[in-house]
Symmetry: C2
Subunit: 344 residues, 2 copies
DNA sequence: CACGTTTGCTCAATCGATGGAGCATGATTG
DNA sequence: CAATCATGCTCCATCGATTGAGCAAACGTG
């Protein structure tokens, strides 16, 4: 009864996705045989190569795709690895997302990333959701409250690892923020070692004083000033938040005249700084930035950028997923410092 | 017997996640009651408010999180929405990812994004994987072969939508590349309408000649030249690929002297152009770029950028997920043109 | 007080894949 | 030729949540 409009020749006309039961019927065999052929355990289960080939062919023809929900439900491990990430709007997080996916796939894991907008409640909800998805392991990137997530994961029997921001209830992998900030501050201070600006302190801008990374970077910033014997007044440290607008407002509100050198704590903060500079072209300054961006690297006045070693951090993270590491473990990965042209 | 190290008081000591069966036992009720309370159907199923509260309390105490695999397996719709995305390394794709997640969540859907590195095979594999995850709908962003994916989805009974690059087998939402490119070209040509450069054609660089968006942009580029009555030699169109290195190489190989104005087809191409410029400081030019980046907007010589209306495109995409749109539908969303300072 | 109706819950089949246990064959050995 | 073993499969319980069907008790009505 070819009443026209039949599509394809070998395809079943069924609108639903074929299951192993459908394939078993088509192949005149049992669902278990089909299952074992399609998941690669057929040799162990002593299925003949002949049958395996026949089943594979039919599966191909039917456009079969395993139902992962059913598969995961039955299996002990899900092979799903989850990551929560605050934002996608800069190169650092973009690189983490991309490389995380690639590394997970290379290990036969299915990566699921979810973006939490730096909102603590969304973060926790996302963690709960990923646990609902039966992730074998959850990576919390830049979480505001990593310990809450780690505790929840521990209770659910899910391994967790902190990335970028450390916590005390799960192993952590972070950049060596202290050394990176110290080196960048040194670079800036060297620029001003000679002429008029000699001995003047820099201005630190951006980030949250309460967050570990910002605190560490401030520590490095202070250490370099101490090395150079330059006194650092407390008002020169402005952890005004990450958003670009916050930085603009903070610079507007800065009481005295601006220092000749700025330590900018993130690329997003740098956006605000540069916008402020555009509004105040008379106030010349040079800057360095903790974080890397290819276009920001080309901005005039940029003396240097600190690039975090994403590949190194993720390699360590995946190493930790495979071992039973202590929650106290805190791995610090050195940053890469990019010396730039500055004024020239 | 407080032998130290016991954790919590009400928490079960069980290392496994509690199921509705565990909760039912603790509450002295049936799994069905627990299920209906936790998924919100308890009123319809005439469970008393008293029992509902008791169950909710116990679930809370036990840190219960539903097993989505089991839930989806049983349900007709999964409420999972998938997206494949070529890269995360620029603001455009970052914005798409972020807003896609936010919009999906706002609709009670679970978003899963996967990054395919512009590799056709990875793209198809990712699509198959997402179908395995029972996505209700799959969005292909910037796919090199969207029709292959659409066909696979159709066979699996999964709705699909193309974003950014159009296809013929599923409804598509793309930027109005022609108009955007024409407007940007006009902007550039106006810059050169007066002095020495008058009547000189621009150079188009970046993208793939085979891809729809690049073709449309070239069409807009040509249309603006025609409007201005400026002849455009074919060698002034260089769709050398997207990668930064390709652009550098193409500029190195450019036979005659470089035009005074460049139409750069993406921010990633612009990276190569700017690196080339740094190597060849004597060759001055101005440029416009199809795509937006906050730091690139601040580069000297940047005359204007075309920002794609991500919010507008995604709003349309979600509108389409809710309706049964024709595969021939091709929605074009106007771009936002950002006029910049240029040389000044 | 017999009979319908509402309330509040439980039973059990089901979704699709998995894998331990087991059952026919046919081949090998003493 | 019986006993043993390897080969090539199939059977079926299981994972956890969902939901139509159904049951008992309480309540209402003439």
């Amino acid at each position: 009864m070819d009443t026209g409009g039949s599509d394809g020749q070998k395809e079943k006309i069924s609108p639903k996705r074929p299951t192993i039961y459908d394939l078993a019927e088509l192949a005149g065999t049992s669902p278990s045989a089909v299952s074992s052929v399609l998941n690669g355990t057929w040799k162990k289960r002593r299925i003949s190569e002949k049958l395996a080939k026949r089943i594979s062919k039919i599966a191909e023809e039917q456009g079969y795709a395993v139902n992962i929900q059913a598969s995961v439900l039955r299996r002990v491990r899900s092979n799903i690895i989850g990551m929560i990430m605050p934002k996608y709007d800069n190169r650092y997080f973009g690189a983490i997302a991309e490389q995380f996916e690639a590394l997970a796939r290379a290990r036969g894991l299915f990566p699921v990333i979810t973006c939490t907008q730096r909102e603590p409640e969304l973060e926790f909800e996302a963690a709960r959701e990923l646990v609902s998805y039966q992730v074998d392991c959850l990576i919390s990137t830049g979480a505001t409250d990593p310990d809450r997530i780690s505790e929840f994961c521990a209770a659910a029997g899910v391994r967790s690892i902190n990335l970028d921001l450390p916590g005390s209830k799960a192993p952590s992998v972070v950049s060596d923020n202290f050394a990176g900030a110290r080196d960048l501050t040194r670079l800036l201070l060297q620029r001003f070692a000679a002429p008029a600006a000699e001995g003047q302190p820099l201005l630190f801008i951006g980030g949250r004083g309460s967050d570990h990374n910002t605190a560490e970077r401030i520590r490095g910033f202070e250490a370099a000033h101490a090395e150079f014997g330059i006194p650092l007044p407390p008002e020169n440290i402005l952890p005004c938040g990450y958003a670009a607008q916050k930085a603009e407002d903070a610079l507007d509100a800065f009481p005295s005249s601006l220092p000749a050198g700025l330590f900018v704590n993130s690329t997003i903060t740098l956006e605000g700084v540069i916008r402020w500079q555009a509004r105040n072209p008379s106030r010349a300054f040079e800057f360095g930035c903790f974080d890397w961006d290819p276009f920001a690297a080309l901005l005039p006045g940029n003396v240097g950028m600190v690039q975090q070693d994403v590949a190194g951090m993720l390699a360590k993270v995946f190493e930790l997923t495979a071992t039973e590491a202590s929650p106290d473990l805190n791995v610090e990965i050195p940053c890469i410092i990019k010396r730039l042209g500055g004024q020239g």
